[in-house]
Amino acid sequence: AQTVTQSQPEMSVQEAETVTLSCTYDTSENNYYLFWYKQPPSRQMILVIRQEAYKQQNATENRFSVNFQKAAKSFSLKISDSQLGDTAMYFCAFMKPNTDKLIFGTGTRLQVFP
């Protein structure tokens, strides 16, 4: 069975600085998807970034980028130029294609300070 581990329950960063959130996963599959979701206090889960396992290039979305290490089964999220609006829970998630089942980690609470 697939598992997703986020070892940092809480992180904090000063506005405009860079922060990295860690995620590791366990799977025997070769092809899969990885996601980072943001959950602000409004509770709505918002997709931040997506990575296909067959792609070697790390995904990037504006200030958000990932460091995908397939052999190490690691999928960290880097937030550059942190903004107050980035304050939220961040969840790493795994999906095996054709099962459509999203498996989430336990989350990291990120606090951005002015």
């Binding site: 997709l47 099962t99 459509d100 999203l102 336990t106």
Partner: protein
């Protein structure tokens, strides 16, 4: 494009009572998910529909939880009877075909007292 709609946003019930949650996915999305998110944890999949058929309900406590998706559009999740440990946020999500991004609703926060 309208998002995933859920109601109610909050619900407080006493243990042993019943409760129902409603979800309206994004138009045209075939896959619908119900997740349970207990405070301090990540969401856990309860049930997944493809159109009006159940794809995965392996983690649904079937002795008290039930869900349906009539006509492959709206879905309801019911708990009867509720227990204290059912206190959680219940999230509904939908995706176009299951291999694409899942869009989430704002969830229903259930408190069982």
């Amino acid at each position: 494009e309208a998002g995933v709609a859920q109601s109610p946003r909050y619900k407080i019930i006493e243990k042993r009572q019943s409760v129902a949650f409603w979800c309206n996915p994004i138009s045209g999305h075939a896959t619908l998910y119900w997740y349970q998110q207990i405070l301090g944890q990540g969401p856990k999949l309860l049930i997944q529909f493809q159109n009006n058929g159940v794809v995965d309900d392996s983690q649904l406590p079937k002795d008290r939880f039930s869900a349906e998706r009539l006509k492959g559009v709206d879905s309801t999740l019911k708990i009867q009877p509720a227990k204290l440990e059912d206190s959680a946020v219940y999230l509904c999500a939908s995706s176009l075909d299951g291999n694409t991004e899942a869009f989430f609703g704002q969830g229903t926060r259930l408190t069982v007292v």
